[in-house]
């Protein structure tokens, strides 16, 4: 790979990330609106489609306020520390047999490792803001996300055992044949995979700071958590990274459990061509599910969240892991 190629790939990833941000914010407003019998944005463009673009322009031209009491260096650095890992997480995602930024043998591990940098940035943002709400939000984000890295990683390990690889492309390849000739071998249709998916879905929501687990932002109690003191594009970066992580987790979920870029009944060549579109479509279905959950459930309390994590999810994930290991040796 030449340097030019590498730069182009990074630019493509940035483009996808920005596009995702714009589309998902619009989608979030519309979906939440309609779930609540409202309309969402209606004025800018057809059915408000240009609303997010206008918001981007607004964020770019807004005054960038740095409060006097903040820790300047950390305050400026934090959005970058949050944004860069979000961008890097796109690196290992496979969009088709040939479409990926890099084809890592440890793609799954890499993605999770990179995503676990995000809470450091959030904690920095919360600390540097010199504001009790921001600090609480940052601490909550760090505590939640660091604690839930454990069940998140444990919940996908059964898939690694079943597929025999951590390469995301390899995991998709392992799901390509059919059971009984018509059921695709997606891990969601495998009892062990289904259990693993249930755990992944819950821990993924927590990792993403998504409602009902958005304790770090908790606008009712913490104003906007770690992003309270941020304005203009610094806030834009924090916000964008949140949405981009949502896409990454959704795409990861599709790759691990829903056959990635494949659709049953399509030839290999057609799959290879349509792959990116299929993957993005599936990922957006996943994002819609997240928004649906977000529009329905109230926020959990922090003690409920901790109980769910330590007393339920981790033991369940460990049990599932052991069970998968044994069954894989006995049956497979």
């Amino acid at each position: 790979m030449t340097i030019l190629q590498a730069v182009l790939r990074v630019l493509a990833a940035i483009g996808l990330m920005l596009l995702n941000g714009v589309v998902m914010i619009y989608m979030l407003r519309k979906v939440l609106g309609h779930l609540h019998l409202r309309r969402g944005p209606v004025y800018m463009g057809w059915h408000g489609t240009l609303q997010t673009l206008m918001d981007v322009v607004k964020l770019l031209t807004k005054e960038d306020i740095t409060p006097r009491a903040v820790d300047r260096w950390l305050f400026r650095l934090a959005p970058v520390v949050v944004f860069v890992p979000s961008l890097m997480a796109y690196a290992a995602l496979p969009f088709s047999p040939s479409w990926h930024t890099v084809d890592l043998d440890t793609g799954l591990l890499f993605t999770f490792a990179i995503l676990s940098f995000v809470p450091i940035g959030l904690l920095m943002a919360g600390w540097a803001s010199n504001n009790k709400w921001s600090l609480l939000g940052g601490m909550r984000a760090a505590a939640m996300q660091i604690a839930y890295e454990v069940p998140l990683l444990l919940s996908v390990l059964p898939i690694v055992i079943l597929a025999g690889t951590m390469r995301l492309g390899g995991i998709v390849d392992a799901q390509q044949r059919y059971w009984l000739g018509f059921i695709p071998r997606w891990y969601i249709f495998n009892p062990l995979g289904l259990a693993s998916f249930a755990l992944f879905a819950v821990t993924g929501l927590i990792e993403l700071n998504q409602t009902p687990f958005d304790l770090a932002e908790a606008e009712g109690e913490l104003v906007a958590g770690f992003s309270t003191e941020y304005s203009a594009m610094k806030f834009g970066f924090l916000y964008l990274s949140e949405f981009s992580n949502q896409f990454v987790i959704a795409a990861l979920c599709v790759t691990l459990y829903f056959g990635g870029w494949t659709l049953p009944g399509l030839s290999a060549a057609a799959n290879a061509t349509l792959g990116p579109m299929i993957l993005v479509f599936k990922a957006y279905l996943g994002i819609f599910m997240m928004m649906w959950i977000r529009g329905t459930l109230p926020r959990v309390r922090i003690d409920q969240l901790m109980q769910l994590g330590w007393k339920r999810l981790i033991p369940m994930a460990l049990t599932l892991l052991v069970l998968t290991g044994i069954l894989d040796k006995v049956v497979g």
Binding site: G33, H34, L35, H36, L37, R38, W292, T296, L297
Partner: protein
Amino acid sequence: MWGKGILNGMRITMRNMRRGPITVNYPDERLVLPERARWAVGPKYFEDGTPRCTACLTCVRTCPDHILGMDIETREDKTKHIERFTYDLGACMMCGLCVEACPFDAIEMTHEYELAVSDPSLLHRNLLEDVDAATAAKHRAAKQTAADKEGTDV
């Protein structure tokens, strides 16, 4: 809470989503107010455009918030001239007691509901200013004309 409750909640929100929005795009679309909706108090007029108010001060005395006021000048022939009929919109609770009390049907609860102003002084309104108050004779005449039109006795 963790099991059936979540599914039931998701079912309800999805049903709402399929039902479509129930909001009214307010500045573009407006709901028709019910006939007896009570908003800002406003004066009523005879058909010839003169105010129906006789300056009897019943409304001023009735108002529980003491926000109606009237400066009157009584002439030698006992007719009254209304200098100012003041109304403090910001303190009005729109109870409608003044309208109930008015013996001459001279004020009403209007349907004016966009009451926000950019300057607090605009909340102090003059309902009537520098006009002659109606006389009881004028009310009798108006009543007679209305009755004649309908062909009934007074």
